[in-house]
């Protein structure tokens, strides 16, 4: 992404050169000025997000928007950066933990906290103003909603996932992935079939209906605790922020995602197939339609066309021009598409 500051722009980068001296030595003063002017959005304050927020704060971003409804549990303490033992007992809101940590790094940071659900319209609307978004939740509905919002409003975004598959008490697969979704790249999370759309639909239903669907076997069972490892989250969050750091400096990132197989210590970049005709990222879809696009929210879900099943054959494929492999399949070790997390 190229960021050009017009001559008469009133947006001036202010940063302390002593604090960011080592970043400036690595990437230059112009890069630091760009980072300092960015407004980033983070859609949750969970295990991955709190590391992203820490990294952004240390990078010198002074404007961050957060959204989280949840509070700290004891079981979060193995991975929630900045959370203290008593946060688990007092059930401190996760957003407050993230904010406390960010303020301890930079007291001048402009941190706006939305204490609520990203799937509510009034909360999602606030994210229209960000330059870049990190979607770090484990919710497919939230991933789809963020995807639609960002493509409509011209916001590049990073979708982060990490996870592990344990079978019969044995670690079968562990890894993570970062997907960079840019307008005009010819794919999005919907037409790319990255996440289970039935699971996403269940998140929008009222609790009674969701329960009925689960009993009938249409969607998976109640949410159960998932394996989660701090070190793995660190790795995935670091990749995402590093990708962002290069992307906003207009470096040519000629791939769409990176997957990390933590068991074999391998990472690889991959490119997604390009498609036409998607009602989100296609040129006649939501892409760059701004405020006239209906966001995917709890309020709009019933009136919005949100497919029950994805028939990928309806999207016309375009040739993949970019380097890199294709995205990992579920059978491959280290694959952590949401279905498997």
């Amino acid at each position: 992404m190229k960021l050009i500051s017009p001559i008469s722009s009133q947006l001036k980068a202010v940063f302390d050169e002593h604090i960011y001296n080592r970043t400036i030595l690595a990437l230059g003063k112009e890069a630091q000025a760009i980072y300092s002017n960015l407004r980033a959005g983070v859609t949750s304050c969970g295990g991955l997000a709190c590391i992203v927020i820490e990294l952004l704060s240390r990078l010198g971003l002074t404007d961050i928007l957060l959204c989280e409804f949840d509070h700290v549990e004891k079981s979060n303490l193995n991975r929630l950066l900045g959370a203290h033992f008593y946060d688990g007992i007092l059930k401190t809101p996760k957003a407050l933990v993230a904010a406390r940590n960010a303020f301890s790094i930079n007291p001048n940071i402009n941190l706006e906290i939305v204490q609520g659900d990203f799937l509510e319209k009034k909360n999602q609307e606030k994210f229209k103003s960000v330059d870049i978004l990190f979607e770090c939740s484990d919710s497919p509905a939230l991933s789809f909603a963020a995807d639609r919002l960002c493509l409509a409003c011209g916001i590049p975004h990073f979708n982060l996932k990490s996870g592990a598959v344990v079978e019969n008490g044995k670690l079968k697969s562990v890894g993570g992935q970062v997907i960079l979704i840019r307008p005009d790249r010819g794919f999005c999370l919907q037409c790319g079939n990255f996440f289970d759309i039935k699971e996403a639909r269940a998140e929008f239903m009222d609790p009674e209906e969701a329960k009925r669907q689960r009993e009938m076997g249409y969607v998976k069972g109640e949410t159960v605790p998932q394996p989660a490892v701090y070190a793995l989250n660190m790795m995935v969050a670091s990749w995402a922020v590093w990708m962002m750091m290069l992307y906003v400096l207009d470096q040519d990132l000629d791939f769409d995602g990176i997957s990390v197989d933590a068991l074999s210590f391998q990472s690889r970049v991959w490119s997604e197939e390009r498609r036409e005709g998607c009602d989100v990222c296609g040129k006649d879809g939501a892409l760059f339609r701004g405020d006239e696009v209906q966001l995917l929210t709890r309020e709009s879900y019933n009136s919005l066309h949100f497919p029950e099943n994805l028939d990928r054959s309806s999207y016309k494929k375009e040739g993949t021009e970019n380097k890199g492999d294709t995205k990992p399949t579920e059978e491959q070790p280290g694959c952590v598409l949401t279905k498997k997390i």
Binding site: E125, K128, D291
Partner: protein, 159 residues
Amino acid sequence: MMRTEITFLKRHWGELTTYFSLESENESGAVALAKLVRNDQVLRFLVRDIVIPKEEEYLEKTPVSISFTADFMERNFQRCEREKMHLVNIHNHPFSKVGSFSPIDDTEDKKTKGPYVEKWVPGTEQAFMVMGNNPEKLDARFWSLESRRLSPIDLVKVM
């Protein structure tokens, strides 16, 4: 602080800068049609189409000024009304490395283009952009329908 932005897709930016690079003597111009994102923190023009004028659609094309035929502008105004788009008027100064608005631009934008579109294409936001022969050295502003004056654009993005 409210931030104001114009955002281009790479392909539109490429189309625009390629067109401007074809002419080194006289100014050139184009119109970008955009959708809007607006809340209390941002006003963002999202460029969805670049309209490159044909040679005969220039009324005047000299090293110091350009103007378009009424038909050309009317066609763009009609698209704004029909498709609920907003306007970005773009021109270049090929004789200068850095694009900055000239006194002629100031007068035209403030006295003519801003109020004209406000009156005859109501609800249409209008931005202006001038590029030097280095397309990344530019200036941009918009006609604020609230304050009825020209205000600076903070950021131009290409993605």
